[in-house]
């Protein structure tokens, strides 16, 4: 036969187990029915503990709901804002087109050089705005899980080569030589504009962090897959930063020295995931980086 203390201890343990499971059979009435004052006190303490716990849980649920709502509002705002920006950019783009045409036909040659340079600069800045807005729209689409692919049969060597050719001017401007190594056609079902975007992103990083050293782009077929890479001999990435550069807003280089949103590699990695591919990096600080993409040919 258990002593009264041992019985009480056992009851308390049972109540604690009950409270742990989110239930409580102690009530004000059941406390009042206890003959012993110290037992009443212990049970009242347990009931209070249970009520505090329940309140904390409700508060946590409410905070989680608020948090989800805040994230949804942020994502909605990002989507609306980035789309809203496209209309003024359209007007600007068309007006610049119109101004260039008028200038070519009507502005006297003496004036043309000065105004032409200014207009060209304006156009470059509008292009930059367009690309920043494109980045925001991509982020919003990726966050909402709404990236859609439009695959078509294409030769990826040709797709990559055309990106490289388009980038020649920027690379030359940065002082880097740009080489493309691609043997023959590699056919597959690809989302051409997304593949273009992936290489454009990687190349713009190679140019930005490339210190004017040579940059090489290559592609090979590997069974069912295709592998392409961008190699630079720039500032490189320290081993401790290599893991986080694919995360959102993360960048290895200090944002005080290099412009950008810190979203390029995150978008690249997310897009590749949607396409069933992956990206990896090999890099050494002060020596350079190689970003390698593997993509199923989907045939």
């Amino acid at each position: 036969v258990l002593s009264a203390e041992a019985q009480l201890a056992e009851r308390v343990l049972e109540h604690i187990a009950e409270i742990g499971a989110g239930k409580c059979s102690i009530t004000d009435a059941s406390i009042a029915a206890e003959p012993d004052a110290s037992t009443q006190e212990i049970l009242a303490g347990l009931l209070m503990l249970y009520e505090d716990l329940r309140y904390a849980q409700q508060r946590q649920t409410a905070l989680l709901d608020e948090l989800r709502e805040a994230i949804r509002a942020r994502d909605d705002f990002l989507s609306v804002a980035s789309h809203e920006l496209r209309t003024p950019i359209t007007t600007l783009t068309l007006q610049i087109d119109g101004l260039s045409r008028i200038m070519r036909e009507q502005v006297p040659p003496a004036c043309l050089e000065k105004t032409g340079r200014r207009l060209e600069m304006t156009r470059r800045q509008v292009d930059r705005l367009t690309s920043l807005v494109g980045t925001l729209i991509d982020v919003s689409r990726i966050t909402a899980g709404k990236v859609t692919l439009s695959r078509q049969r294409a030769d990826i060597t040709e797709v990559l080569r055309s990106v490289v050719e388009r980038s020649c001017e920027d690379t030359a401007h940065a002082g880097s030589a740009l080489r493309f190594e691609g043997a023959g056609p590699i056919w597959g079902n690809f989302d051409v504009s997304r593949v273009d975007q992936v290489l454009t992103n990687l190349l713009s990083n190679a140019i930005r962090y490339g210190r004017g050293k040579p940059i090489a782009v290559g592609v090979v077929a590997e069974g069912e897959d295709v592998r392409f890479w961008v190699e630079d001999h720039g500032i490189g990435i320290a081993p401790e930063h290599q893991g986080r550069i694919f995360q959102r807003y993360e960048r290895a280089a200090p944002s005080t020295n290099y412009a950008g949103l810190g979203l390029g590699l995150w978008i690249t990695q997310q897009l590749l995931e949607v396409m069933g591919g992956r990206i990896s990096v090999k890099s050494e600080l002060g020596v350079g980086s190689v970003f390698t993409v593997e993509l199923p040919r989907g045939e």
Binding site: H83, R86, T90, T93, L94, D97, G98, K146
Partner: protein, 122 residues
Amino acid sequence: MTPDILIVDDDPDLRETLQLLLEDCGYHVDVAENGRVALDHLRADAHPRLILLDLMMPEMSGWEFLDRARADRTLSSIPIVVMTAHRGPSQPPVQGQDVLYKPFTRANLLAAIERRAGVTVS
């Protein structure tokens, strides 16, 4: 004069930019600031050879205009080019229409018009 193109857009600057651009190319252009005004023009005047339609507009949106135009036998044969900033599955569908995604260039615009209406710069 019968317009070649009816521009329906609530943004006054973009509307005027498009109008100037297309008039420079020799098109006769009519403008409306939303779907309702566009319908009024279409009921009162001769039909254009093509409609250039924005989607997000107050009073009557481009989507509603599309529904009305499709349901009206006198309007359903007019080719429509839709201008939108939205791309992807989150946008309400604009099936069967040519879509110009903003921002577009002069060349994109003229190509879309020629493709849809077979109208070439005169």
